[in-house]
């Protein structure tokens, strides 16, 4: 019984209510709640590193009728990332939104989104996941519409429509599962699930809904426009956190709950979709004219990489090798979360200064905004997958496991995706280092740039050099020192 698990859910919710009731103090409520949630997540992470899994039965009602919150290595590490990214983006938002009214509108929605996200990560019950998924979607749509322009509203409406369809598909699947097995608690389900047609249909429905929400090709079409028109901190959260949450759910369902019902073919299908996402997303990013669109398509590609892990995971026998790959997957997700949010925050700074984010006109950025250029470079390194970022280690591990499992198809996909990413990141950097006054006069550095810098440093330095800690957290009982395979 661990009440700690309720905190990451309750604290942002309280903050949201406070921000709603006292709009003048919205910033304080918001940042306070974010910091508190971060501290709670830190504690949870430390506990998980020691004990493997934490559990809380809400209200004291045992699972079956009651709802359980659970934190294992995967959810604890994602939780930690979310709180940190949310804190940084929230800090940035206080400078991004100049008018107090905008901030008063922003904070309650933002904190609601955070509440939903944390509840989703900690949920142990399928229907609870549905509710949190919906709440997350609604909050994200509202935030995306904050831009106010007609394009932003249209993008938000499309996101909402598509998202609702996805949720309904998911809900249908949940219903079928309940009909078949009589329980919605994930741990209990894992024990009862069988490989039969009803299960396959339910899993297919749920996965389809989640694929829409995680913007996997070809269901990615809502993402670029939603991103391009949303305010920068919102884009950061969308790319780094919201789509990641949907992917997390796919992982949970496929690896923990329904693993007996899976086949290599279905996993291969996910892998093919992921591969298409990598190539298509990277290519579109290369051709993008605007910085935020580039980042949005880059997210499509990176989500594709995450899905590439799944068929390789399933083809690897359970044991040390699979644990190693799983840790790499988490490392990739974490690094992307930090680097993409850093990239969006950096793009936001540029957008603010220059009034536009057209890549071809970014000349002189390195002189005008050296810190932001550095942030873009660091984040870009993590997006390409060059050392010392965490992505490099994760890709190394993915390729090793893919070769070991005989799944050679993914190697050229990864190679092409990486090279295209190199092309589009260095295209941006090339313009930024070039001559021109496109971005306006110099600014030594600003408070607005600091959150992005911290996020970028985590992605490229901390997660790169300290990666061994990720494995310690995610793989129960693993000792990262001196293990050789």
């Amino acid at each position: 019984m661990n009440n700690l698990l309720a905190l990451p859910v309750v604290l942002p919710l309280l903050g949201s209510l406070l921000a709603l009731v006292w709009p003048r103090r919205a910033d304080w409520a918001g940042l306070g709640a974010s910091v508190a949630a971060f501290v709670a997540a830190g504690h949870i992470g430390a506990e998980v590193m020691r004990n493997a899994t934490l559990e809380l039965a809400v209200g004291g009602w045992a699972p079956g009728l009651g709802i359980a919150l659970r934190a294992d290595g995967l959810s604890a590490s994602l939780l930690l990332m979310s709180t940190l990214v949310a804190l940084a983006a929230g800090l940035y938002a206080t400078t991004y939104f100049a008018e107090a009214q905008k901030r008063a509108d922003f904070w309650p929605l933002w904190l609601l989104m955070i509440t939903a996200l944390h509840a989703l990560l900690l949920s142990g019950d399928l229907f609870n996941i549905y509710v949190t998924l919906e709440l997350l979607g609604l909050a994200a749509v509202a935030l995306a519409a904050l831009g106010g322009s007609r394009a932003a509203l249209q993008a938000a409406v499309r996101y909402l429509t598509v998202g609702l369809l996805g949720s309904l598909a998911f809900l249908t699947g949940v219903g079928l599962i309940y009909a078949g097995y009589g329980t919605l608690d994930m741990v209990m389900l894992a024990g009862r699930v069988d490989a039969e047609p009803a299960t396959w249909v339910a899993l297919a429905l749920m996965t389809a809904g989640l694929l829409i929400k995680s913007a996997l090709f070809p269901m990615h079409f809502w993402l670029p426009s939603a991103h391009a028109n949303a305010p920068a901190p919102v884009s950061a959260a969308l790319s780094a956190l919201v789509v990641k949450a949907a992917f997390y759910l796919v992982l949970r369902l496929w690896l923990d709950v329904f693993d007996v019902a899976l086949s290599q073919a279905s996993a291969g299908l996910l892998g093919l979709l992921g591969a298409s996402a990598v190539i298509w997303g990277s290519w579109q990013a290369y051709r993008a004219e605007r910085l935020k669109l580039l980042a949005a398509y880059s997210t499509v590609a990176q989500i594709g990489y995450l899905f590439l892990f799944i068929p390789v995971l399933l083809a690897t026998e359970p044991g040390e090798a699979r644990d190693l790959l799983f840790g790499a997957l988490v490392l990739f997700a974490l690094t992307h979360g930090f680097s993409k949010s850093a990239f969006f925050l950096g793009a936001g700074v540029i957008l603010h200064r220059a009034g536009h984010d057209r890549i071809a006109e970014l000349g002189g950025t390195s002189r005008a905004l050296p810190v932001t250029t550095f942030v873009l470079a660091l984040a870009g390194i993590a997006l390409i997958g060059l050392p010392p970022s965490g992505t490099f280690l994760a890709k190394w591990q993915l390729m090793t496991s893919a070769i070991a499992a005989g799944q050679w198809l993914w190697i050229p996909v990864i190679a092409i995706g990486t090279l295209l990413a190199g092309a589009y990141v260095f295209r941006v950097l090339g313009h930024a280092f070039g001559p021109g006054e496109g971005v306006g006069p110099s600014l030594a550095w600003a408070r607005a740039e600091l959150p992005a810098l911290l996020l970028a440093l985590v992605a490229t330095a901390v997660l790169g050099l300290g990666a061994a800690q990720v494995w310690t957290m995610v793989v129960p009982g693993s000792n990262a020192e001196g293990v050789s395979l």
Binding site: D323, L324, L386, I411, F426, F433, G482, S484
Partner: protein, 500 residues
């Protein structure tokens, strides 16, 4: 943490930390920046000296950091890494002095010197890499650190040249990565072991190993400018002279060649590689590159481009030495790593001086420079003679050993014509320059450049480095038999490689 644990890491930090600090400096903090640069370089030199002494006496220096279960970042000092590290360190110090003089009053100096230090950090890390994974990490890091240097001037040509450079090196890095990952899957963690480890593994399919070798060589060959992967090198000449000097003598090109040496000697093992038949492939590629580079150099009027093609040709001597089985050829290849570095950097320093002082960029404009700039031209002459292979400059020593090694191994009698042919071609494209420089009639007015008001022909910071490196080239040749000379060191490496 004892000295044996921390020395490799300290050597790395001695350029990383000053580099990071320099980024934060304001453009005007000239003295502080110079102080940081020289301090870092001197500290590094001292530490490397300690390492040289230690490795000679079979002391083990290793730093290990676990990045993931089963994946270690290893910095390990053996005789081969010491050879490359000392070359890098010494030439970094010299190039720093040169760069300070060359970039006087240029914009963005903090940025330049910051990346410069990162570049050296990457090179040193690569040299000290103790397993293939660490090598790949620093290899990619080197790409990152050198890109901004190539693009430094910010002109459209510079950006374009840098983009071509990036395309080649990223693609090469990918090939290297795939090869390394594949090998890891088959053979486990790949710590470098003198004599190679793959020879002892009987369960590995020879054809798979051949394909992996091809991937690795393609990946390394991009940086080492093996034909047909050399296309980036002439394009990268848009960089400022100190960058070209560093790239061609020390960092990028040597990194590729060094990687090839490591793969053949410490991963595959030279005898095993020969038995697989892959050495023949490497030798052929090297030979083609040697001749092709020299032929292309003949037709270049732009001085830096001519030197670029000369580099393409000369670095492949190292690959050639590696490809021939036998200790003498090994010695020739290894020692050329050092000799070519010292000689080529001299030539590039001189080219930079001609451009800076006289606005001379082309060979056709070089008539009579010897009279106007005798010191620089003397250095250039020594370097050029060494390239051709005329004693007592160091280049002769390396070619001599390569020739001996080829003759000894018998199966490589085709090497001698390549060596002789390329020396003739070298003479064909260097001797005319020397003739023009010393005996040509200077024009009435030089094309441009900044005339230096002072007793010396050019700013002292630009004059002494080429004279120093030319002197080193001469010394390496004259005193080749002395202890601690590059030749003796190469002999030590060969001894340790073949006796296992």
């Amino acid at each position: 943490m004892s000295l044996s644990n921390s020395l490799p890491l300290l050597i790395l930090l001695s350029s990383l930390l000053p580099g990071l600090a320099i980024f934060l400096l304001r453009e005007e903090s000239f003295r502080l920046r110079t102080a940081l640069n020289l301090f870092g370089a001197s500290v590094k030199l001292i530490l490397v000296g300690v390492m040289i002494w230690g490795v000679f006496h079979e002391q083990v220096y290793e730093t290990r950091w676990t990045l993931a279960p089963g994946l270690d970042l290893v910095l390990h000092a053996d005789a081969l890494s010491v050879l490359f590290v000392s070359l890098s360190t010494l030439l970094w110090l010299v190039t720093t002095v040169y760069a300070i003089g060359y970039l006087e009053d240029s914009p963005h100096r903090s940025r330049f010197f910051g990346f410069f230090s990162l570049c050296v950090t990457a090179t040193v890390g690569l040299a000290l890499a103790g397993n293939l994974f660490t090598f790949v990490v620093f290899y990619e890091f080197l790409t990152l650190a050198t890109y901004p240097l190539v693009a430094h001037k910010g002109t459209p040509e510079a950006i374009r040249g840098a983009r071509i450079y990036l395309a080649y090196t990223l693609a090469g890095g990918m090939a290297l990565l795939i090869g390394a990952v594949w090998l890891r899957t088959l053979a486990g963690p790949l710590d470098f072991v003198q004599g190679g480890i793959l020879g002892g593994m009987d369960h590995l399919d020879p054809w798979t190993l051949r394909w992996i070798f091809l991937l690795l060589i393609v990946g390394l060959g991009v940086k080492a400018a093996l034909v047909p992967l050399h296309g980036w090198l002439p394009q990268a000449m848009v960089a400022p002279a100190p960058v070209s000097a560093l790239l061609h003598a020390v960092a990028v090109v040597k990194a590729g060649a060094f990687g090839i040496v490591r793969v053949v000697y410490d991963v595959y093992g030279v005898e095993f590689a020969a038995s697989l038949g892959v050495l023949a492939l490497l030798g052929a590629a090297a030979a083609v590159t040697i001749i092709y580079g020299s032929v292309k150099a003949l037709s270049q009027d732009n001085l830096k481009k001519r030197l670029a093609y000369s580099t393409v040709s000369q670095v492949s001597y190292i690959a050639l030495g590696t490809a021939i089985l036998g200790p003498l050829a090994t010695v020739g290849g290894m020692v050329h790593l050092v000799h070519q570095g010292v000689m080529k950097i001299t030539l590039f320093f001189a080219a930079g001086n001609y451009a800076e002082a006289l606005g001379v960029h082309r060979v056709s404009e070089m008539d009579g420079v010897g009279r106007r700039m005798p010191g620089t031209t003397l250095a250039f002459t020594i370097g050029a003679l060494g390239m051709i292979g005329i004693p007592p400059v160091a280049g002769f020593v390396s070619k001599w050993y390569l020739g001996l090694g080829a003759a000894e191994s018998g199966a490589a009698l085709w090497v001698l014509p390549v060596l002789v042919g390329s020396s003739l071609l070298n003479a064909a494209y260097f001797l005319p320059i020397l003739y023009r420089a010393w005996f040509g009639q200077p024009p009435a007015k030089w094309p441009g450049g900044h005339t230096h008001a002072g007793r010396w022909e050019i700013n002292q910071a630009l004059l002494w480095p080429p004279l120093l490196t030319a002197g080193l080239a001469l010394a390496a040749g004259l005193f080749a038999a002395a202890p601690y000379s590059p030749l003796e060191w190469a002999r030590l490496i060969a001894e340790r490689e073949y006796s296992l």
